[in-house]
């Protein structure tokens, strides 16, 4: 990243001084370095997947491979060309918006992703909508009552949530709600969702499981950030002036804690796109993460690259948004 920064440094271009330091400048700067990061990531992924034993042709033919069929399939996939040519070809396609053809499915990568990405985004969005308010509430409450019974109870609860592996949460949830009580379906294919009731039934368990993972992290970070502010001298001043605890926490401390909280939220949410493969597996949810795992297993390079680009892009975007939120929430940074 250091080189990336240096390369994208403003000093290399003749830029009017008044642009520098503005928010627009920061965004442009970050987008440029983000693009460079994406290219570097794509190269790294390309090289690493190249090191995996076997290629798409061998994986597709499996035990029944003969040298002749492997050669024919490699030619079909374009794997007979040297790696750097294949990479440049892929990069060229990317610039023209063509992500290539999936080797295994023999369909355009964009078509396969188009079927999965909205589902992944929906799951992430629903989980975020549920988990962020809960996490912030828990974090702020335990910061306000730090050291007391409520704080200790919430601490214990969040720590146990983060300590239980998600496959266990998911499996137990299925056993209880699907197999025993039969309230919810064990699978969340998300193919037959047409009414709000079906939507709730389909998403209840995956969202519950993911909330277990992300709420704890966000709540702990929020608590730490708010406590940090609550020990500052301006808060002491507010208390001395007679502000009520809720007003102290929400009106005085919280705005100053928004920066770190936004970053914690961004980090947790970035996990919701690519890191949910266990939840996708257990609930049979057709999302992007399992698509990428399949692609790696089948050595389906165009697919691996496309998924990696999406995850990386989402991560960079979330971090950028978190930084913007941090800047905008801080008058000192805002007017710099």
């Amino acid at each position: 990243m250091a080189e990336a920064r240096a390369l994208a440094s403003p000093r290399r271009f003749a830029v009017p001084a008044r642009w520098r330091g503005t928010i627009a400048w920061l965004v442009a700067n970050r987008l440029a370095s983000g693009a460079l990061t994406l290219v570097i990531v794509s190269m790294v992924i390309f090289v690493i997947t190249g090191w995996l034993p076997g290629d798409a042709a061998q994986e597709a033919l499996g035990q029944s491979a003969t040298p002749e069929t492997i050669a024919a399939l490699r030619a079909q996939y374009g794997l007979d060309k040297p790696p750097h040519i294949r990479y440049l070809h892929w990069l060229q396609g990317l610039l023209t918006g063509n992500l290539g053809q999936s080797f295994t499915a023999n369909l355009p990568v964009t078509e396969l992703i188009a079927g999965r990405l909205p589902k992944s985004l929906l799951l992430a969005a629903v989980t975020a909508a549920v988990s962020v308010p809960i996490a912030l509430t828990i974090g702020i409450l335990s910061a306000m009552w730090r050291g007391r019974a409520l704080d200790r109870a919430l601490n214990l609860a969040t720590l146990s949530m983060v300590a239980v592996p998600e496959f266990l949460v998911a499996t137990i949830a299925v056993l209880v709600f699907a197999v025993k009580l039969q309230w919810l379906p064990a699978l969340s294919n998300a193919v037959d969702v047409s009414t709000p009731a079906q939507f709730v039934r389909t998403y209840a368990m995956p969202v519950l499981t993911l909330c277990f993972v992300v709420i704890a992290q966000m709540a702990r970070m929020t608590r730490a950030a708010v406590i940090d502010q609550l020990s500052a001298s301006y808060v002491e001043m507010a208390v001395l002036k007679g502000a009520r605890p809720a007003r102290v926490a929400l009106r005085h401390a919280l705005p100053n804690a928004i920066g770190p909280i936004a970053n914690a939220v961004a980090l947790s949410l970035s996990y919701l796109l690519g890191g949910v493969v266990i939840v996708e597996t257990i609930f049979n949810y057709p999302g992007l993460a399992s698509l990428m795992v399949d692609a790696v297993t089948n050595r389906d390079m165009p697919m691996v690259q496309a998924c990696a680009m999406i995850f990386c892009f989402a991560y960079l975007l979330l971090v950028l948004i978190a930084d913007l939120v941090a800047i905008l929430s801080n008058p000192r940074l805002r007017h710099r």
Partner: protein, 538 residues
Amino acid sequence: MDDKKTFSLDPADQRRILEALGRGASRRDVLRLMFSMGIMASAAGGLLSVATNARAQTPRKGGRIRAATTSSSTADTLDPAKGSNATDYTRHNMFYSGLTQLDASLAPQPALAEEIRSDKATVWTFKLRKDVKFHDGSPLTPADVVYSLNRHKEAATASKVKTVADQFSEVKASGPNEVKVTLVAPNADLPVILAASHFLIVKGGARDFSATANGTGPFKLKEFQPGVRSVGVRNDGYWKAGRPYLDEVELIGIQDEPARVNALLSGDVQLILAVDPRSTSRVRATPGYGVLETKSGLYTDLVARQDAAPTNNPDFVMAMKYLIDREQAKNAVFRGFAVVANDQPIPPSHRYYLAGLPQRPYDVDKAKFHLQKAGMAGKSVQVVASPAANGSIDMAVLMQQSAQKAGLTLTVNRVPADGYWSNHWMKHPLFFGNINPRPSADQLFTQFFKSDAPWNESGWKNEQFDQLVLAARAEPDNEKRRKMYGDMQVLVHEKCGIGIPVFLSFLDGYNSKVKGLGSVPIGGFMGYMFAEHVWVDG
């Protein structure tokens, strides 16, 4: 499994008999069939009454089921030539039909070919049914069959059965409804070979299988999303009168076994493939659900390469075979859902099984003797096991303990399932393999035991065996073939570098509302052909 207590018959055998009765077999035929399966005559009376019940349960048209296999990924395909796993085979059997079809005893039955003749097992003539239509309405012609068979020989098709298809020297239309297949060498098993899902018949000229499956099968393609699901709707013009029964069938893959069982028990799916033996009691304890055991020729074997030291020493091989505690493998590793095997690959249910071969026992003393003779006493050897070879890690650990008693240190090298078949299988002196059942003895022996076979797991070379393979393949006389296959089983049992502890059963989990389910022992899900056989009750 309540039936089992009454009749001491497993569902597979019952199914065979009931099917025979359904075909109009006489009481005497059934008694003979049961005798051949080694069933006590006392069970017969009870069974015949079950048959009456079964026929009273007439198949009902309508309904929809969702079935879950073990995997589903973007590698899912609608091209029969590329089928690589149970999900693909099941999907292909939904949309396509073959020239022949296997029955419960793995004997080929006519399907799209209504009549099959051969001249010295070399020139085969298939007379096609006249009333068959593809899903797009076009009639089945010899040209479609010629195209479907010949495409496997082209490297660009990337067919899984290219090596099998290379024995077709010529495939051509020999009449308005006839196809003639000429082989490079005689093969009496061609009708069995053509029953494999890879050889299902596609429309002549079909190349794009990404979203279409224009076959002559029981279901028409409604939706295909690789890695998500395949949905078929009933083909009302199916050539088997009255079939299929279901309006719609959906096929999905659930990789995680507990999730698969949970999906069954919560009612999300009605049929699941590959229940772990450990989950069987849970499924059976839940009212309204059952587990169907299909005894098969599937095996996980210990392989000692004959081209590497010390595993090429015949005494070492013999010692390893004596160190396998088959009963324990059957009961501890597979919870009884297995049949003790005898270091040769033909299972007891097969029509060419040699019954008289003495069972090799678990014998640490004999193993010790052979180890000393091989100069391996007190030495250390590594065995490679992986989750890819079903049960191999558990069996390796069992062997490790018995090897200790015989004075051999066996270290178990566990490797991941990903890439096992390309990176480890056949690449170590001592490792585990896993071989899926093949419908014919010839395929099994040719692919895995003949000296020049690319998958000759142990690199075993035996001239006498090779000659027998060729002779048996060309022999149209069934009794003579049986004799030769018997000799081959003895040779493999005595001399080959593999130890086969047990034959594994396929376990399907089902919702009791699903009727008509049976066993075709090349795989679970009725040999991947359940879709056209099952119906939903009530």
